[in-house]
Each structure stands twice: as structure tokens, then as C-alpha cells.
């Protein structure tokens, strides 16, 4: 079974703090993603990475950065946390479907980190 783990289940930080969320997957997947999940808005893509040291902005990258130094690890960084970044953060990884080019197959999700910024 694919396993995606996230460093914390719950996190409480203060406004202005730098926050690191880490994600590790054990299936040698090329692609990794960070989403935030908010009630009534579903999942929104923050950043994704398709290879080590490669990253692309998703739909809501403002206020976030990412790092992928090793294939199995993808970190999300909040440079200066703000209250509107209080949310559930989900990490996912996926293979690239062999016959469908640069598209996405099943994503495997971590348990999520519920971040509260006070």
C-alpha cells in the first residue's frame, strides 16, 4: 500500500511565524501536491512538484512556498503565517499514467495537517 505521511496532524502557530509542513511518500512517485481543504470550497491546489527541485504554482500559491530536495519529500512553507491560512492542508502523491502523457492518475493522500493560526 502507498503510504503518505505528514509531519503533524494538528498545529497551532501565531501570526507572523514561519511554518513548515512536511510530507513523505514511500512509493517512488514522481508527482507530489499540496492542497488546502476548506468547507464548501473543496480542495484547492497550492503547489505541485513533478520532479526533484521542480515545482509549479497551483491555483492559490500566494503566501506559500515549497521545497523538494528529495524525491520522497515535499515541504510546504508558510513564510509569515496569517489567520486566513488557518485550514486543513493535504499532501498527495501520484504516478504518471503511462499511456496518457503528462496527466494525473490516482492521487494518494496523507492524513492532513489541521493548522490554526492565532
Amino acid at each position: 500500500d502507498v503510504k503518505v505521511t505528514q509531519s503533524s496532524r494538528y498545529l497551532v502557530k501565531r501570526t507572523g511565524e514561519k511554518v513548515f509542513l512536511e510530507c513523505v511518500q514511500d512509493m517512488d512517485h514522481e508527482n507530489m501536491f499540496w492542497y488546502r481543504q476548506d468547507p464548501g470550497l473543496g480542495l484547492r491546489l497550492i503547489y505541485f512538484s513533478y520532479d526533484v527541485k521542480m515545482k509549479e504554482k497551483g491555483d492559490i500559491p500566494e503566501g506559500y512556498s515549497v521545497s523538494r530536495e528529495k524525491k520522497e519529500r515535499f515541504s510546504l512553507i508558510l513564510e509569515s503565517a496569517s489567520t486566513n491560512q488557518t485550514s486543513m492542508y493535504l499532501c498527495a502523491s501520484t504516478e504518471i499514467p503511462g499511456l496518457a502523457g503528462l496527466t494525473t492518475d490516482t492521487q494518494y493522500f496523507g492524513p492532513g495537517t489541521r493548522l490554526t493560526v492565532l
Partner: protein, 114 residues
């Protein structure tokens, strides 16, 4: 704007009732389609997916979905729900033109009364 729409945000059913959750998307061209489920306290996980071929796809736990290209729809169905189907369901679309990006609907919370 391009989007994925789930028509019902909250659904309440009694056990043994039939379920249909609507999903429409606004992307032209070829798409990969997914339904994910999040049971209370658990990870988001795949329920079923469609890439090509037979537009009626079957997933885990008796769920199925039908892709109707002309309607840009991928509705989820189950003939008889159980209390254990209580969860949040997300429709997701990966347009091939968008590369690796997958766009999720807002989700539908299903509550099944025992």
C-alpha cells in the same frame, strides 16, 4: 471560469435508499475523471476513476459512475446506501490540457440514517 460543480452540498438519506450525486465540469477536450471519498477521521481515498473506454465505471463498495461526454457529467450512483457510506464525496477532473493539475469540486456531505 473553468470549474467542477457538485450540485448537492448536503444529502441525507435513509439506509437502502438509492444515491445519485451530480458532477459537471466545464473543460473541453480529453479529461481524466475521479470520485474520491473521505470517511470521518480517515484519509481521502479513491472511489473510482475513468480514463477511457466503457463510460460506466465501477468502483469500491458498490459505487459506480457514468461519464456522459455530451453533458460534461460524471455522476456517482449507488443503488442502496448503507450507514457506513456516511462520508464526504469529491468529484475531481484532470484535463489533459492542464497537465498534472486536478480540479476538485466543493464536495458533497452524505449522511445516511440507520
Amino acid at each position: 471560469a473553468q470549474s467542477v460543480s457538485q450540485h448537492n452540498h448536503h444529502v441525507i438519506l435513509s439506509e437502502a435508499a438509492s444515491l445519485e450525486l451530480g458532477c459537471n465540469y466545464s473543460y473541453g477536450g480529453t479529461v481524466n475523471l475521479f470520485w474520491y471519498v473521505q470517511y470521518p477521521g480517515q484519509h481521502l481515498q479513491l472511489l473510482l476513476k475513468y480514463f477511457s473506454g466503457d463510460p460506466l465505471v465501477k468502483g469500491i463498495k458498490g459505487f459506480e459512475a457514468e461519464f456522459i461526454k455530451s453533458k460534461f457529467s460524471f455522476n456517482l450512483r449507488k443503488p442502496s446506501v448503507q450507514w457506513s457510506d456516511t462520508a464526504e464525496y469529491f468529484c475531481a477532473v484532470n484535463p489533459h490540457a492542464g497537465g498534472f493539475k486536478t480540479i476538485f469540486g466543493a464536495g458533497t456531505r452524505l449522511f445516511v440514517k440507520a
